[in-house]
């Protein structure tokens, strides 16, 4: 157990240093610290997986490979901190209000604490019921991790056509992390993928809370966290040890980082660079991550054009994203082009299915059905959130308009890309929808809640709402 805990320390430290060096959470405000911690967990683990993969290609899979890459990443992170001026002097943060928190905020804190505690206990108990995870976990992700760990120098056997049913074209973020943790523990204990699943689930809830609390106010942050932690389907998918919640984390992280960049005064470069890293890691998590990354970039482009002055704004706002994105994309490209078999969805024969109107109708019908019962709430969660928005009203601070528009557009574009894959899928459509749609919706759910609570008015219960326009310094 101690070795398993130790395996998380290098990625967390690396992530903490990199995220801080590039401008997140250097102020003493606890919300900013939590934001930094959540981003550090996901980005640190993702970067560690990328580096471990590259080292495996060069030197095979071993404990020495894992330790060496961890040490090199940590040295790289420390060098980045020395190079980046944004990390050194903490910019002036808005001082926290000295007045005591109102009663309603304490009630929200208590409710939030209860919900998070219940979700954590329930999630852990559920995870313990299936130590090897759900079908996709043992059939895809943990199976591949076993090839990486048990295979040693022969780890490429895990990409053999003999296991074509296990999608060997899927990228290796999660299997790499699990295999690396197993090298630390010395054996392939099921606790390692369970712990990784738990960290990604908790980091996603923490990120939603901290981002909304930073960009709006603490009460709104608690509401966002309550709704996410109160979504049983999210908890189940998180503890199923599959890659959908890690992907949801990176998609959310990219949108949060861009929103923080909208609010940052003169330090956007680092935040947009981290956005690029998050998008690259989304592509390193699942094939859908590539569609999500493209959608976020297109949405960012569209919002920049609409804001005007795009000739000077684009290079300044989007060029740093390329600096973060391209190195990770090169890793993904190397894996896809040199090691992995081609994706089954890339067959051109699938394009003929685009002309079948019945497929559009089926996707729409089943999509609406799934949305109606989405999340596993006692009532339809959409039937809860829609009236809530009507009761509270919509209130978007001018500084948050671009963030909200970008997030909504990115979610819509990603959903459209998913619908496009269903249109051309070589599998029976109804089976494919029935076995994957709820997971795809979970991928977009945390980002959707972030956008929702960015737009919906926060409770005016203290007499006036406490809106913020603070960045994440």
């Amino acid at each position: 157990m101690l070795r398993l805990v130790l395996s998380f320390l290098p990625p967390l430290a690396t992530g903490w240093i990199i995220v801080g060096a590039l401008g997140v959470g250097t102020s003493p405000d606890w919300r900013h610290r939590l934001l930094r911690g959540a981003l550090a967990a996901g980005l640190g683990l993702g970067l560690t997986s990328c580096a471990f993969f590259l080292a495996m290609v060069l030197a095979g899979s071993s404990l020495a490979t894992a330790l060496t890459t961890d040490a090199l990443l940590l040295v790289g992170a420390l060098s980045l901190r020395r190079l980046c001026p944004a990390g050194s002097p903490p910019p002036a943060a808005r001082p926290a209000p000295a007045r005591p928190a109102p009663t309603w905020l304490w009630l929200l804190r208590t409710s939030g604490g209860l919900a998070l505690g219940g979700a954590l206990v329930g999630g852990w108990l559920f995870g313990g019921l299936q130590p090897h995870g759900a079908w996709d976990a043992w059939g895809i992700w943990n199976l591949r991790a076993r090839f990486l760990f048990r295979g040693g120098v022969e780890w490429r056997d895990g990409l053999s056509p003999l296991v074509a049913w296990s999608h060997p074209d899927y990228p290796l973020l999660l299997p790499g992390l699990v295999a690396r943790a197993w090298w630390y523990t010395g054996r392939d204990t099921p606790q390692a993928p369970l712990a990784i699943a738990c960290v990604f689930g908790a980091a996603t809830v923490a990120l939603v809370f901290a981002a909304v609390a930073t960009l709006r106010n603490e009460g709104q942050g608690w509401l966002a966290a309550l709704v996410l932690a109160g979504t049983p389907e999210f908890l189940r998918q998180a503890m199923n040890q599959i890659a959908d919640v890690p992907l949801a984390f990176y998609f959310l992280a990219a949108l949060v980082l861009l929103a923080l960049a909208d609010h940052a005064a003169g330090r956007q470069g680092g935040l947009v660079g981290l956005t690029g890293v998050a998008l690259g890691l989304a592509a390193w998590t699942k094939n859908e991550g590539l569609a999500g990354a493209l959608a976020v970039l297109l949405a960012g482009l569209a919002v920049a054009v609409c804001r005007g002055g795009w000739r000077w704004r684009l290079p300044r706002e989007l060029a740093p994203a390329a600096v973060g994105l391209i190195p990770v994309l090169l890793v993904v490209a190397y894996f896809k082009l040199r090691l992995a078999p081609p994706s089954e969805y890339l067959a051109l024969t699938g394009l003929a299915r685009l002309g079948d109107p019945g497929r559009y109708a089926a996707i729409t019908r089943l999509g609406v059905d799934e949305l109606g019962g989405f999340g596993g709430w006692p009532l339809s969660v959409l039937a809860i959130l829609l009236p809530y928005a009507l009761a509270m009203g919509v209130r978007v601070a001018p500084a948050a308009r671009a963030s909200a528009a970008r997030a909504v557009l990115a979610i819509v574009l990603t959903a459209a890309a998913y619908a496009g894959v269903y249109l051309v899928t070589p599998h029976p459509l109804e089976w494919h929808l029935a076995t994957s749609l709820s997971r795809l919706l979970i991928q977009l759910w945390p980002a959707s809640l972030f956008a929702y609570f960015l737009v919906v008015a926060s409770p005016p219960l203290a007499g006036r709402s406490e809106e913020r326009s603070a960045g994440a310094s």
């Binding site: 209860l114 329930g122 559920f126 130590p131 090897h132 076993r146 295979g151 005016p460």
Partner: protein, 138 residues
């Protein structure tokens, strides 16, 4: 701030929080019920069962490479995948001829007939339908 607006917001927030807490509570209760009766899981925990079944076979097998796979129910895909998961990084081939062949039998009594038909020689019977054969390529 109009009083009606505050009341409306208070009701909306209270309902949202109450529903979220009810949702977490229902998930917690469902999980505790499953722990009390794990057979209610939609897909029983076969991965753990297959781990236990095939662990004694692993020391008898090569560390890497391809071995054959045979079963009295060749159409049972999930059981084949579970065996592959249990024995990775070995690759299990259901089609080719191999020197080492693993048997996964639902009905162990069906093994001799299957082995005779495929020209397999039984090396070890580890119980619960798990067998090790020498194949025709051996």
């Amino acid at each position: 701030m109009p009083r009606l607006t505050v009341i409306r917001a208070a009701v909306a927030v209270t309902l949202l929080v109450a529903l979220a807490l009810a949702s977490v509570a229902s998930f917690l209760v469902w999980t505790l019920e499953l722990r009390a009766a794990p057979e209610q899981l939609t897909r029983p925990n076969l991965a753990t069962y297959y781990q236990a079944r095939f662990t004694p076979l692993r020391p008898l097998l090569p560390r890497n490479g391809i071995v054959g796979y045979v079963s009295d129910r060749p159409d049972a895909d999930e059981e084949y995948l579970l065996t592959q998961y249990a024995l990775a990084p070995l690759l299990l081939d259901r089609a080719g001829l191999h020197a080492v062949v693993i048997g996964n039998f639902f009905d162990p009594a069906a093994a001799p007939a299957t082995a005779a038909r495929m020209g397999l020689i039984l090396l070890r019977d580890l119980g619960e339908g798990v067998m090790l054969f020498r194949g025709p390529a051996g």
